[in-house]
């Protein structure tokens, strides 16, 4: 049996032979070259097999380590953009803040530079006056004490100025003055007090035509001023009369521009100190020609006020439907103010200028 010899060789190689047997076997190897060769081969084969086995085992171990490691790595593995982001996040943050800073910094600076210009052009203030309620309330209380039988009149909410257009009871004012009115009253310095109604409105030119509804009204009489159809010249002395407060107030200045707010060619820019309540007031030149209707001023700018040119007032009057006026408005032909001194002019004028009180 050949395999018995293998067993012997294996026993010899693994060192399981007892000393006697081993010595005998070694002696045999010495003499038998074929056996020696076999032993040598067998040793090599066994070693190779051992090594093969170890490697196989080690390989599979390493493979399992590797796949475990990859499994661990995959869920923390970052996509390329994340890697890029992580690497450059700081730089990008700095760059982003710098660009933001410069963008907003520039915007802010530009805004700062633009700011005065914007103020110059941005805010148009309509000169409608909100009536001081407290004062009114006080007078109402006093009246109440004096006359207990009459109910106290409701105070007007807003006021502006208006002036006569024709002898038969037509007036003009700024449409923003009478906006949202329930009822409108007019009153002048001589105590004439009438109830009026708005008969026509031109929102684009901020003008409203009012008509006296009072049956007791007998007409204004002859108007002292005429309406100028041509455009007035730059630098002309102009004045106005209005009700920025309870009493009539005179204001004088000059025509500073032939265009109005933001280059509006339907209006003049004038340098007259004006206040809320002046809206709807007449703008007259030196000779007593009516050249415009006060409408507003520019907030934050001294002496920049605006008046609608009389040409548009005339246009509006011509557009008035006959039905509302019954008879065409006859414009005054004769100017009785020309040549008079300013106080004389004002004396004649003030009866035709009214405070417009708006109730709502």
């Amino acid at each position: 049996m050949e395999y018995l010899m293998y067993e012997q060789i294996e026993r010899y190689l693994s060192g399981k032979m007892v000393d006697d047997e081993k010595a005998a076997f070694e002696a045999l190897i010495q003499t038998d070259l074929r056996l020696a060769e076999q032993v040598k081969e067998h040793r090599t084969l066994l070693q190779a097999m051992q090594q093969y086995g170890q490697r196989q085992e080690l390989r599979s171990k390493l493979n399992s380590i590797h796949s475990k490691m990859e499994a661990e790595a995959t869920h923390v593995e970052l996509p390329m953009w994340r890697v890029f982001w992580n690497r450059h996040a700081q730089t990008m943050a700095v760059a982003a803040s710098i660009s933001l800073l410069s963008v907003f910094g520039t915007l802010w600076t530009v805004e700062q530079l633009k700011a005065p210009a914007q103020q110059q052009t941005a805010r148009y203030v309509e000169l409608r006056r909100e009536v001081d309620k407290l004062k009114k309330a006080q007078t109402a209380i006093i009246k109440d004490i004096n006359n207990t039988t009459k109910p106290a009149p409701r105070p007007a909410r807003f006021s502006g100025t208006g002036f006569a257009l024709s002898a038969n009871g037509y007036l003009v004012t700024s449409s923003h003055v009478v906006e949202g009115a329930d009822s409108i009253m007019i009153e002048n310095t001589s105590g004439a007090k009438y109830k009026v109604s708005e008969v026509y409105r031109d929102q684009t030119h901020d003008l409203s035509i009012l008509k006296i509804e009072d049956p007791t009204f007998e007409g204004f009489g002859k108007l002292p001023y005429t309406f100028k159809t041509a455009e007035s010249d730059l630098g002309e002395m102009v004045y106005t009369l209005g009700y920025p407060r309870e009493d009539v107030v005179f204001g004088e200045g000059s025509l500073s521009s032939t265009s109005g707010f933001e280059g509006d060619t339907t209006a003049y820019q004038i340098s007259i100190p004006l206040n809320p309540g002046n809206s709807g007031g007449p703008l007259l030149d030196d000779k007593g020609n009516l050249i415009g209707v006060i409408s507003g001023k520019q907030a934050g700018q001294e002496g920049a006020a605006f008046a609608i040119k009389s040409a548009y007032l005339l246009q509006l009057m011509s557009e008035l439907p006959l039905a509302t006026t019954l008879s065409p408005l006859s414009l005054p032909k004769h100017n009785t103010l020309a040549g008079n001194s300013r106080p004389q002019q004002l004396k004649k004028l003030k009866d035709f200028v009214f405070v417009v009180k708006v109730y709502n």
Binding site: Y3, E7, H42, L45, A48, K61, L62
Partner: protein
């Protein structure tokens, strides 16, 4: 696994020597990124990196197991050097001679180890081939007996031989065939 357990190279070597798989695992994970980076930046793929690294680890492991390692540097450097050499050899086999290798680490030439390693490698390759050619059930039989060191009785039971003598006889026949296959391709040079 506590990381602190294998903080030093000595601890790792001691761990591997005592057959602690955790030491091996730790070592493997520790240095793989370095080799992977080296292979990938020298025209290699992920799979090649894995192959080369495992070969390197096997060399290291076998050296430790056979107590033939005289480590004069860090394990890291040793592994890098081995893998570097293996990779250059692989490149040469592929017909691509790396004119310049992009080195990330210091390395040793390790020339004196090379023949021994190549011999081991060759022997392993031949044995693997021989084993595969042997086919079943011889392969498993021999593996069970010589590698997994199972006793003959167990093998007899598992393979369904009538008695251990039949098993032994079968084993002997298998061994004979293996011997033939093996020595046909392998001539010991060492």
């Amino acid at each position: 696994m506590k990381k602190g357990l294998y903080e030093t190279d000595e601890a790792i070597i001691a761990g591997i020597r005592s057959g602690d798989d955790r030491a091996l695992t730790y070592l493997y994970k520790l240095h793989f990124p370095m080799i992977s980076h080296f292979i990938l930046s020298n025209s290699g793929t992920d799979d090649e990196a894995k192959d080369i690294y495992q070969e390197g680890v096997i060399v290291f492991y076998e050296k430790i197991k056979s107590d033939s390692l005289e480590l004069t540097c860090q394990i890291k450097t040793y592994l890098y050097s081995v893998c570097r050499r293996l990779w250059l050899k692989r490149l040469a086999e592929k017909g691509r001679f790396a004119t310049k290798v992009d080195d990330a680490e210091n390395y040793l030439m390790l020339e004196e180890d090379a023949p021994q390693q190549e011999e081991n490698e060759r022997r392993f390759g031949v044995m693997e081939d021989a084993m595969n050619q042997l086919g079943e059930p011889c392969k498993t039989l021999l593996e069970d007996y010589y590698i997994r060191m199972q006793n003959m009785q167990d093998i007899t039971d598992r393979f369904g031989y009538t008695n251990t003598d039949t098993a032994k006889n079968q084993k002997y026949k298998c061994l004979q065939r293996l011997k033939k296959l093996f020595f046909a391709a392998y001539q010991a040079e060492v």
